[in-house]
Symmetry: C2
Subunit: 144 residues, 2 copies
DNA sequence: TGGCGAATGTTACTGTATAACATCGCGACG
DNA sequence: CGTCGCGATGTTATACAGTAACATTCGCCA
């Protein structure tokens, strides 16, 4: 899916969910899309300032929070960052693989594998919510 | 295992690994042990200041980093915090369950369940390192 | 047109983490 | 005994991350 299609789909997605991808939110989403991999809030803020002169942290945090809420981005706790989700339409829990060497990030589907974790949690009398797991390791290129 | 035994075991553990649980590191570990559940670095810093007057962030961060390195603590990224590991002797990957309501934390053993995640990562040409997963949900008490 | 609620702007602050450099303490070695 | 080296700790300053609180604007609807 190219960037334009993505943004259009994202807008429709928000619409369906009863909220609006405003100009600002869209702009922030575009800025995140321009990077590959994880982006930090203050990087987005800097980019935003380049485009519109002034901008303060709450502006970008509010937009990022919104986008995460809508499932367009995932937050990556281990890196204090955000990644674009390219299958926000389907209901899923995210599993994000972060290469320790090059920092590259990929999201994989993990529904099945999570079953095992749910079992373990059940055994501990704990009800899991939706997860956003970040796993670290080595990507193909860096494994050599 | 009571606190004294724990500290003694921790010291031996470090010794075996070729490094030393110095007085400062031991003091920080004790401070973490005094809390149940997740502790934040700046909480430890405040406690440390109460005990020895002055202390700056690097002092406590260095000690915490050391303890994590030795496997005595796990870092909980999602909360910017740390928890004591009470089975640091055995080789394990941690899975930490955090209740979204009361904030209570428990670590469970998860070796088996991780097999599924390793399979998924393999399929994505990714070699997992040791993991420190944080899963959120509701604990027994808060599920009602 | 006026009023309401959501979104955004603005200021100021709290919390989290690290860089860089100074100093200390202690064992190895001549 | 010095003194060299090195790991641990102290100190200062700053970078990075996130939020509270309040002001203002904007778009929609009565
Ligand atoms: Zn996703
Ligand atoms: Zn890599
Ligand atoms: Zn553990
Ligand atoms: Zn609970």
């Amino acid at each position: 899916m190219n960037r334009t299609d993505y943004l259009q789909a994202a807008e429709a997605h928000c619409e369906r969910r009863g909220c609006k991808l405003t100009a600002l939110r869209r702009q922030v989403l575009e800025l995140v899309l321009r990077h590959q991999g994880v982006v930090k809030a203050y990087q987005v803020l800097a980019d935003l300032q380049k485009e519109r002169g002034v901008a303060a942290p709450p502006t970008v945090y509010r937009a990022l929070d919104f986008l995460v809420e809508q499932g367009l981005l995932h937050r990556v706790d281990a890196l204090n960052g955000f990644v674009v989700c390219d299958h926000f339409e389907c209901q899923h829990e995210s599993m994000i693989l972060v290469c320790e060497t090059c920092g590259k990030v990929q999201e994989v589907d993990v529904m099945a594998a999570l079953a095992g974790l749910h079992d373990v949690a059940d055994a501990a009398d704990f009800t899991l919510s939706h997860q956003n797991l970040t796993l670290t390791g080595l990507c193909k290129a860096c494994r050599i």
